[in-house]
């Protein structure tokens, strides 16, 4: 296989364990001391099946849309593709550098300046300091924040924070991009700019996966839409 980027999921499932204080150390110790008989009435380990036997083959050139209700497993699937959650059963193989644009606030710090946040966000997105430095000005220009970059992030409006995060996140060179719903950034003029940047990114990136509630958006930018329901892919 000489592809630069591909994703393969086989019977991929994720079960989230549900922990409460009920399942604490005391319980664990007590159940080991009493051989577990003591707690027979409690199911051994409550779990939530977030993804259920997903089979997926994504290759270069694919633009995949994930569509489904809240809690259908879109975000969990994106996080699994990012490599954060390993399968509890089944397998996953991902080739290619992944840029995950899932949470805009990841790695950002309120008390740090805009410049510092560019570095922080860049590093957490997997860029090297050298790479960040070389793109620093471009990122700053794109964000249109000007003098605000010297100010702490907490003085920004939420729209401005999103702009900065967007500017850094879309500067990553990656073979695979994962997007979770946050395409509406900033005011109208910035939104246009953001959209064209995203489109540009989508063109130069071999694989894109986008989760959204908006069918229109998905039809517009993706080549294939996958329906998710209760952690399963429908009509597969």
């Amino acid at each position: 296989m000489s592809q630069n980027a591909y994703i393969k999921l086989k019977d991929f499932s994720i079960d989230f364990p549900i922990y409460t204080a009920e399942r604490s150390l005391k319980r664990a110790l007590m159940s080991s001391a009493t051989g577990g008989i003591f707690h027979n009435e409690v199911p051994s380990r409550p779990t939530l099946r977030a993804l259920d036997s997903i089979n997926l083959d994504i290759n270069e050139g694919d633009r995949i849309g994930l569509y489904g209700h809240n809690g259908s497993g879109k975000t969990t699937l994106l996080r699994a593709l990012a490599g954060a959650y390993a399968p509890t059963s089944g397998s996953i193989t991902v080739k290619g550098r992944v840029a995950s644009l899932l949470d805009i606030s990841m790695g950002m710090e309120g008390d740090a300046s805009g410049w510092e946040n560019i570095i922080l966000r860049g590093l957490t997105m997997g860029m090297s300091p050298k790479e960040i430095k070389s793109k620093m000005n471009e990122i700053a220009d794109f964000s249109e924040l000007g003098g605000f970059l010297d100010m702490p992030l907490r003085t920004y409006s939420s729209g401005m924070q999103v702009r900065l995060a967007f500017a850094v996140s879309t500067a990553v060179d990656a073979e695979i991009i994962l997007l979770d719903e946050w395409l509406s950034v900033g005011d109208e003029s910035f939104q246009e700019k953001a959209e064209s940047r995203l489109k540009e990114m989508v063109i130069k990136t071999p694989i894109m996966i986008l989760a959204s509630h908006s069918k229109n958006l998905l039809d517009e930018v993706t080549t294939k839409t996958l329906h998710m329901e209760h952690g399963k892919l429908k009509d597969q």
């Binding site: 086989k10 989230f16 364990p17 922990y19 604490s24 150390l25 005391k26 664990a28 996080r79 990012a82 490599g83 954060a84 959650y85 390993a86 399968p87 509890t88 089944g90 397998s91 996953i92 193989t93 991902v94 080739k95 290619g96 550098r97 992944v98 995950s100 899932l102 949470d103 606030s105 990841m106 790695g107 710090e109 008390d111 740090a112 510092e116 570095i119 922080l120 590093l123 957490t124 997105m125 997997g126 090297s128 300091p129 073979e175």
Partner: protein
């Protein structure tokens, strides 16, 4: 570019040890990330303060000065013996306490990142150790006036020994952060338990009192010879005070490090993929 960044595969059975060592090495190689995050933690703590991280130096300085005057008097010890002993002991102890207590939080502190991007998990243990090494560097400044007031003979070999000792403690810090970080993430009661044990250890370890005050038999043997904290402190404190480190202490530290390594690798190999689910 780092190959591990662009390939990821889970599903086939991988031997625990391989999984653990791979995570450890790629975590170490991820130094640009953990060094920056560690610095950022310090900067964050002291942002908008005039003295900034110098508060670390000042706080430790005040503690040492107060304890030095009071306990030196109580124990009827000459200052030139007691103060350097206390200063070095407290500084090394503060380093170890930070590693252990903050090690418990190693993964919980970075939960946002762990749940969204793929990094070697040991990255976050290194971050904790790096942050505490920066604190150590600030605290170590205290030794300059102490040495100026009460000179000790510290030769090149001694300095290298100190450095080696600190590296050994830091290495153990990474390992304990992995082990305790994983356990605390799963069982949230572990953190407070560890804090209490560490707190108690401060009093029973010869830091404020000299080991020569105890007889080397009975209780003394337990508090000194069998106390891992004592030996870990000794490998740094002894050379700083111009003494040799006993072979016994080195052997003991070697044993601790070995056990620590074995446990941490097991925990990392066994729970590498479970930890994100516990956050």
């Amino acid at each position: 570019m780092d190959k591990s960044r662009s390939f990821y595969s889970v599903g086939e059975k991988v031997p625990l040890l391989r999984l653990a060592t791979e995570d450890f090495w790629s975590g170490l190689k991820n130094y640009q990330l953990w060094m920056f995050l560690g610095w950022q933690d310090i900067r964050q703590r002291y942002r908008r303060s005039v003295l900034g991280p110098l508060w670390l130096t000042l706080t430790t300085g005040v503690t040492i000065a107060m304890l030095g005057l009071l306990y030196g008097h109580l124990f009827k010890m000459p200052n030139d013996v007691y103060v350097p002993f206390l200063a070095t002991g407290i500084i090394v102890w503060t380093f170890m306490v930070g590693l252990i207590n903050e090690g418990c939080e190693a993964f919980m502190q970075s939960d946002m990142m762990i749940k969204q991007v793929r990094n070697p998990l040991s990255t976050y243990a290194f971050r904790t150790v790096w942050r505490n090494s920066i604190i150590l560097a600030h605290n170590a400044v205290i030794l300059i006036p102490v040495w100026w007031l009460f000179p000790k003979s510290l030769d090149l070999i001694g300095m290298l020994t100190v450095l080696l000792g600190l590296v050994v403690i830091a290495f153990n810090g990474v390992l304990i952060s992995i082990t305790l970080g994983a356990l605390t993430t799963r069982f949230r009661d572990i953190g407070p338990i560890v804090t209490n044990i560490v707190q108690a250890s401060f009093f029973i370890t010869p830091i404020m009192w000299l080991p020569s005050l105890l007889q080397s038999k009975g209780v003394g043997a337990i508090l000194i010879d069998l106390n891992p904290f004592f030996h870990l402190i000794e490998i740094v404190r002894s050379p700083l005070l111009g003494n040799d480190v006993s072979v016994n202490s080195w052997l003991y530290v070697l044993g601790i490090s070995g056990a620590n390594l074995a446990i941490a690798l097991f925990v990392l190999g066994r729970f590498r993929y479970r930890i994100p689910y516990w956050l």
